[in-house]
């Protein structure tokens, strides 16, 4: 049973490949003069955003609209939530309005899981980022971007990321993007290396299915993709690192470092970028940087996820053959 997308860890390899393949089909819609499919006509998707995140919200909104769903944007700011309404009562309200899917962004880790498992609503729940826990659609669009770039849109169909080496650099401790990517990329067969100062790596990371390095220079030459994470300047006030300058000297990606990467390797960033901090303008604006593609791919991935969760009586996610076997 897979009615929700809460964690990238819930996806099997076949689930993930199915989502990526479906996203390729969705990407073709974007090339048509009329960028719309009738698939979710009459279904209601609620974007429930307790945190400001314009880019994620509009990405989900565009995805739902291209599938012809009715979209309701529920922002916690200026709503009853700011007056003290609980997550439960908000959920009951959405349920009463007949939401078929709730896309939730919340500052508290686990809030989407609570929403999906507490019996408050019947609809599908899609995690659009919860606290410092997970952001599974970001990981899916990152995997999609890597597969397109390294294997190719057509050649990539049906394939995973077996043997690819992907390096994730930055504030791992506070990053939901890193957590989801570690789960998903390893499920897809890639080898993940996390790079950060030791202060920004969580205690307990040794149990994660990936390597950890404190030196960016050591891993660049063997990376097929380098994913730079945003580092918030406020972190230095909590003594995670001494100064911005020291951070970018040790962990920032500039042209010189990019030159150490293999020729085919790409630079990724989930956005928003802090230019001059974790990435220089030279790198951000180079051909090897996929940041704008990632935005476009985000819409395709979110279309695929909504389509598979809501698409029919036998939702395609749960109908994936490998899952049925696994459930035995």
């Amino acid at each position: 049973m897979k009615r929700h997308l809460i964690s990238a860890a819930d996806l099997t390899r076949d689930d993930a490949v199915l989502i990526l393949d479906t996203a390729e089909e969705m990407a073709r819609v974007a090339d048509r003069p009329i960028k719309k499919l009738p698939t979710l006509r009459g279904r209601t998707v609620v974007n429930l955003f307790f945190e400001d995140s314009t880019r994620t919200r509009i990405s989900f909104e565009a995805a739902a609209k291209r599938l012809s769903a009715d979209v309701i944007n529920f922002s916690a700011k200026g709503s009853s939530v700011s007056k003290g309404e609980s997550l439960k009562d908000t959920a009951l309200t959405l349920e009463a309005m007949g939401a078929d899917a709730v896309v939730i962004r919340h500052g508290a880790s686990g809030a989407p899981y609570r929403l999906a498992t507490s019996g408050w609503i019947d609809g599908a729940v899609v995690n659009a980022g919860d606290g410092t826990h997970e952001h599974p659609t970001q990981a899916l669009l990152d995997a999609f971007t890597v597969r397109r770039r390294l294997v190719g849109p057509e050649a990539g169909l049906g394939r995973d990321l077996e043997g690819r080496r992907i390096t994730i650099v930055g504030d791992i401790l506070h990053s939901r993007v890193a957590r989801s990517n570690v789960h998903l990329l390893t499920t897809l067969g890639a080898h993940v290396t996390l790079v950060a100062p030791p202060t920004l790596v969580p205690v307990g990371v040794e149990q994660w299915p990936c390597d950890v390095s404190y030196s960016l220079d050591d891993v660049l030459a063997t990376s097929d993709a380098v994913m730079m994470l945003r580092v918030q300047r406020e972190r230095m006030n909590a003594a995670y690192f001494p100064t911005e300058r020291e951070y970018s000297r040790r962990y920032g990606l500039d042209g010189e470092r990019m030159a150490k990467m293999p020729e085919h390797a790409v630079v990724m960033h989930p956005g928003p970028m802090v230019r001059g901090m974790e990435i220089t303008a030279e790198v951000a604006d180079s051909d090897r940087c996929t940041v704008v593609e990632q935005v476009a791919n985000g819409v395709s991935i979110r279309m695929a996820v909504l389509y598979l969760l809501l698409g029919g009586a036998d939702t395609a996610l749960s109908a994936a053959p490998a899952r049925t076997e696994e459930n035995k």
């Binding site: 880790s109 809030a111 410092t132 205690v203 307990g204 149990q207």
Partner: protein
């Protein structure tokens, strides 16, 4: 509640050979075999265990201030159901129990409830703020006769304030019960820091935040020649420090909660706030170390840290939820499962860890006494063969935030006697 003669027939006193125990008025009149019932009411207690009335060093009764979660009356009813005849009511109420007036009010409410004795704990510092000592002497001299002082819920983290408090209470044989939590290391902490917190993306509460305070405080207690009590010790490292301090002959005591003897941080994977508690649930290795320490006496006693919360404070996302679990009505069952049924201690050990020692630490008169003639009849009768799933709907507590809902636990308190008065009969409040 009847005040006549009661004969408990054939109970295993502290788990020993079956004996008869005659209660006359407020006192245990006779203990022996083949006692004549005479005009006494007879309780057939074959197969049951008779313990001294249990004593809790750490209970949150919430009154005054949060009567929506618990009152002294409902809390003492829950205590009686759990086999307790005395509880220490923690000071973090609204207003804080930091004056003689508030501790006397709580003490008086306890006397009026009649279900168990309520011994108020006084705050160490004004408003639990850790800045200025509360009037510890006035609280001690009040009708409440406070001997245990604690800012529980908050750590007395200032080393000078802690030192002064430890020194000051020597004047009246008081004890400071420390909630060991280094505040800077636990900013934003949501659960035990480790493998699970890393995965769940919840702020970590590292073991070292507890252990560093305990290490400091045992050294301070030794330095000023006072005694210190460690609340709800939760890590294997804390056990090592207390064991070391005791080996030096220092006057250090410690308690462990039932939930830290049974539950681990793996449960947090459900994001169900019913498992949110402070200190947090730790790892399996910690649980095993705590059980061993309770068995070998490094940890002196079990204390519930009964922490009632209204439903809405747990029916929400993890980060927004209150910390704490109710525990009075399930404590003995959890101890039976984790300590007795595992062979780590016997029922005499339970009497020691849940009655004799906590009463001694709190210098509580009339409780934690042997089951013998001439002693106050504070007694708890337990059916150890009982098995049943925990049903919060049946709780006497006003709150339902138990982590054991639906879990099968062994043992049940069938009778509780407070100075000869039955407060619980056949598992039901009298």
């Amino acid at each position: 509640m009847t005040m006549s003669k009661i004969l408990i027939r054939g109970a295993r006193v502290l788990g020993g050979e079956p004996q008869d125990v005659l209660i006359d008025g407020e006192t245990t009149a006779e203990v022996g075999t083949g006692l004549d019932a005479g005009d006494a009411t007879v309780i057939e207690a074959e197969g049951r265990i008779l313990l001294p009335g249990l004593v809790d060093l750490h209970t949150h009764l919430r009154e005054p201030g949060r009567e929506d979660s618990e009152t002294v009356l409902t809390g003492t009813r829950a205590a009686a159901v759990g086999g307790f005849t005395a509880v220490h009511a923690m000071a973090n109420t609204f207003p804080v129990a930091d004056t003689a007036g508030v501790v006397e009010q709580v003490w008086r409410l306890g006397r009026e409830s009649g279900y168990c004795d309520v011994q108020p704990v006084g705050a160490v510092t004004v408003g639990l703020e850790g800045k200025q000592l509360a009037e510890l002497g006035a609280m001690h001299d009040s009708a409440a006769g406070v001997k245990v002082f604690s800012d529980d819920g908050k750590c007395v983290d200032d080393a000078v304030i802690m030192r002064r408090a430890l020194e000051y209470v020597k004047a009246f044989d008081g004890v400071v019960a420390q909630h060991a939590q280094e505040p800077r290391l636990t900013e934003g902490a949501q659960m035990n820091e480790g493998v699970v917190s890393a995965e769940l993306g919840l702020g970590g509460w590292p073991a070292v935040a507890e252990e560093s305070i305990i290490a400091r405080d045992v050294l301070l207690a030794a330095h000023v020649g006072s005694r210190v009590h460690i609340c709800h010790l939760s890590t294997a490292g804390s056990v090592e420090i207390v064991r070391w301090a005791k080996s030096k002959g220092w006057n250090v005591t410690a308690e462990v909660t039932p939930h830290h003897l049974l539950l681990t941080d793996e449960l947090v994977r459900t994001y169900n706030p019913v498992y949110k508690v402070n200190p947090p649930l730790r790892t399996e290795a910690d649980v095993l170390a705590l059980r061993e320490a309770l068995a070998d006496g490094t940890i002196d006693c079990v204390a519930t840290d009964h922490a009632p919360h209204p439903h809405e404070d747990k029916d929400c996302e993890w980060a927004a939820a209150a910390m704490g679990m109710v525990g009075l009505e399930t404590a003995l069952s959890v101890v039976q499962q984790t300590m007795v049924d595992t062979g780590l201690i016997d029922w005499a050990g339970v009497a020691d860890r849940m009655s004799f020692r906590p009463a001694a630490i709190g210098r509580l008169a009339g409780h934690g006494r042997p089951v013998s003639a001439g002693e106050p009849a504070n007694l708890t009768l337990v059916d150890p063969a009982y098995r049943g799933a925990v049903d919060p709907a049946g709780f006497a507590s006003r709150s339902r935030n138990t982590p054991y809902e639906g879990r099968e636990l062994p043992g049940r308190v069938t009778h509780t006697f407070l100075r000869g008065c039955a407060t619980v009969v056949d598992g039901k409040l009298a």
